[in-house]
Symmetry: C2
Subunit: 269 residues, 2 copies
C-alpha cells in the first residue's frame, strides 16, 4: 500500500463522522477523504439494490481521488454493499463496520445473547446476525430497527425525557425480561450520539458496543501505523453531494470539532 | 384539457398520499398516477437546487405517461421547485400545496398572525411566508421546522405521550404566550398523521390548516368536474423509485386504504 495516499471513508451523510473521529484518533498522521452522500441520505430506509448502487458510486468518486483503502462508515451500506464493493474492486482493501462490530459483541458477551439495533435496512438485511453467527453459531441475536434515533440525533435531541422515552419504547421490550441480552450493538453510526439516553434505560450490566472504535482498530491493523509521518497531523478533505451548510452544522456535532464548510465540494455522482 | 388523461401527482415518498386521498375524495371519477421518489426521500433536509433537480425528473417521468396536469403533493418541492416546473412546462398546469395552504390560512385567521410548521427545506426557504404576504402584506408569520414529525409519522408513533411530548417541545414556544398565532398551517404532508397529538397541545381556539383538502379543491377548480365519467370510480397507477414493499406498508397508513404492492413499478429516473 502506498502510505502517502489518503484513506477514503464514505457514509450516507454525517453519521459516519463518528467513525472518522475514531479513525483520526487511532491514526492521527494519516490523511483522509470523507464523502457524505447527503443528496440521497438516508440509506437506512432504502432497498438493498439501491444502497448497493449508491455505494458503488460513492466508491468510484473516492477511487478517482486515489485512496489507498476504503472504509464503509455506514452500517446500512456495510450490511448490503460490502460484497459488491469487494467484487468490483478486488485489489482495494474494503472495510465495513458490521464485521468489526460483530466481533466486538461476541468478545464482550458472557451469555452470547446479543441485541443489535440499527436502521430498517441494516436490521431487515440480517447482516449482524450473519456476522455474529459466523463467529459463534450458538449465539442468540435479538434485533430491532430504531428509525427514530436517526432523526433525533440529527435534530440534536440526544438527551432528556423525550430521548429517554423513545429509548425506553424501543429497548424495554428487549431488556425488561429474564434471559435478556447482556450486550447491545449500536448498529448505526448515528446512535452513539444517543448513548447517554440509551444507557439510562438499560439494565446496568449491559455492555454497549459502538462499532466506530472497533472499526478504527481494524483499519489500523490493516493499513499499519504510518511511522514515516509520526508527529505530523493528517489532513481531512470533505466531499458532500448536497447541502454544504447543513452538512457542516450537523457534522460538527458528530465530529466534536468544527467542520470547515469552505472545504466541502458539491459533487454530482 | 383532455378529460381522459390521468392527473399526475408526485411526492418525495408516501406523505403526498394524504393529498391523493383528498383528490380522490373530491374527484372520484378521475384517474391518477402517483409517483413517490422513495429512492431519494426525504426532500425536506436537502438543498433547494437538489430538490429542483429531483422535481424536474419526477415531472418528466409523469409527463412521459401523458398526464393532463401535475400536482406537486410535497411541501418542500412546492416551496422550491414550482417556478422551475412551470418554466420547463409552460403549457402544463402545475399546482403545488403551498399557495392553496397559504390562502386557506389567511382566510381562516382572525388575527392574521399565522404559524407555519414544516420540514427544514420548506421553512428555511420561506415559501409560505412569501405566499401569505402576497395575499396580505400585513400578516405576521411565525415558522418552525419540525423535522422529527416526519419520522414519527413514518414510524406510526402518531399518538400518545411521546407524540405529545414532541409536539409540545416544538409548539409550546410558539403558542404559550400572549399574541400567539390563532392559525397553524401543517406545511408538510406527513403532519396530518399527527393531528391528534398536535391538537392536544394547542390552545383550543387555534385553527389547523391541512393543505391536502385545500389543494384538492384548487385542483378541482382547475380541471373541472368530469361529467362524462360521473358514477365511475377512477383508477390509480403507482410508481415508486425504490422499495415497493416499504412504500406499500407505510403508504397504506397514509392513504387509509390498502395499497396494491403489485401495482408498483421501480423506475430509474
Amino acid at each position: 500500500m502506498n502510505e502517502s495516499k489518503p484513506i477514503g471513508v464514505f457514509d450516507s451523510g454525517v453519521g459516519g463522522l463518528t467513525v472518522l473521529r475514531a479513525l483520526r484518533a487511532a491514526m492521527p498522521a494519516e490523511n483522509f477523504i470523507y464523502l457524505g452522500d447527503t443528496a440521497r441520505l438516508p440509506y437506512g430506509t432504502k432497498s438493498a439494490e439501491t444502497v448497493v448502487r449508491y455505494s458503488l458510486q460513492c466508491a468510484d468518486a473516492l477511487i478517482k481521488r486515489r485512496v489507498r483503502c476504503l472504509v464503509v462508515a455506514c452500517n446500512t451500506a456495510s450490511a448490503s454493499a460490502l460484497g459488491a464493493l469487494r467484487e468490483h474492486h478486488p485489489t482495494l482493501p474494503v472495510i465495513g463496520v458490521v464485521e468489526p462490530g460483530a466481533a466486538a459483541a461476541v468478545a464482550a458477551s458472557a451469555t452470547q445473547h446479543i441485541a443489535v439495533i440499527g436502521t430498517e435496512g441494516t436490521i431487515s438485511g440480517g447482516a449482524y446476525q450473519t456476522a455474529i453467527h459466523r463467529l459463534n453459531p450458538a449465539a442468540r441475536v435479538t434485533s430491532r430497527a430504531c428509525s427514530l434515533f436517526v432523526s433525533m440525533a440529527e435534530e440534536g435531541w440526544t438527551e432528556g425525557p423525550i430521548a429517554e422515552a423513545v429509548a425506553s419504547r424501543y429497548l424495554d421490550p428487549i431488556f425488561q425480561n429474564a434471559g435478556a441480552p447482556d450486550t447491545l450493538v449500536l448498529g448505526c453510526t448515528h446512535f452513539p450520539a444517543l448513548a447517554t439516553a440509551i444507557r439510562a434505560v438499560l439494565p446496568r450490566h449491559v455492555n454497549i458496543v459502538d462499532s466506530a472504535t472497533i472499526t478504527a482498530a481494524a483499519v489500523l491493523q490493516l493499513v499499519g501505523g504510518n511511522s514515516a509521518r509520526v508527529g505530523t497531523r493528517g489532513a481531512v478533505a470533505w466531499l458532500a453531494t448536497d447541502g454544504a451548510a447543513r452538512f457542516a452544522r450537523v457534522g460538527s456535532a458528530f465530529l466534536g470539532e468544527r467542520l470547515d464548510a469552505e472545504a466541502i465540494d458539491i459533487i454530482d455522482l
